[in-house]
Symmetry: C2
Subunit: 145 residues, 2 copies
Amino acid sequence: MGTQENNSGTCPVDRGLMRVGDRWSMLVLRDIERGLTRYEQLRTSLGIAPNILSRRLSALAEAGLIAKNRYSARPPRDEYLLTDAGRDFLPILMAIGAWGRKYNGGGALSRHLDAETGEAVRPVVVDANTGAPIGSRPLRMEYPD
Amino acid sequence: MGTQENNSGTCPVDRGLMRVGDRWSMLVLRDIERGLTRYEQLRTSLGIAPNILSRRLSALAEAGLIAKNRYSARPPRDEYLLTDAGRDFLPILMAIGAWGRKYNGGGALSRHLDAETGEAVRPVVVDANTGAPIGSRPLRMEYPD
DNA sequence: TTGGGTCACTTGCAAAATGATAGTGACTGT
DNA sequence: ACAGTCACTATCATTTTGCAAGTGACCCAA
């Protein structure tokens, strides 16, 4: 057989996708960030079936990206809030958004502005060590033993 | 109803996910980048069912992320190569990988090294305007009319 | 030249996930 | 007492995924 046949166990991308690798999960995170933290808000915003939304919310909570918080006992009202892990995922959504705008951007799209400068945010993935955008320098992979 | 109920049509994240919003598609892109460009290589590397792989490859080709290239007529041999759009998606996979390493990183994981410095790449999403990591500055959303 | 072996798939069918629709229970406000 | 909201669950049809087996083009060795 080849050099390495199946390294899914050692691939950090796979590890990430195990937790959020579907469309609804990401859109839920996006909406929570937009301030749509309640079940009904998410349901109407996304146009998702209620059973599916329930399952996605449970899965995201189990995966540690969101936490359910009862903010009113009577009437019983819950909100879903991002955890640290969930908040850390948001930049990835911005990067996906930038890609979507570039390659599937017909029509007018919403966007993020820097609150101070007022300029449209342009998300790019860089290597924190060099500051260079990923793809601008040659890379090499290293596999564990 | 609320401020804006359903902006999926104007959301660039959704636009992006329309094209690659599933696990297998992303893993296929990752593997192609690793040099596994042929059907059999992808199938054994991913452990994916052949019919599913076929469908994913067609979908990715239709979405413009990869292109099928017959590099040998006899015997008939094909390879799948990244297009510009596909290559532009790779940094997102690196960002997902960094997240996966941080929050689901048990055991030894593979990683990318800068070919020149030899240091492990640390992918971060920044705003190209300010250079500041996304999340470190307050943002505001702007919706189209 | 027959007989395996590889590559790149397709076909058929079972299992799982998704989605539409209806309904439930706790409440609130009139 | 009665309509209305919120946060769901239950049921069932549809869709997608996954497994196993098979197919066609070709190559190489006996």
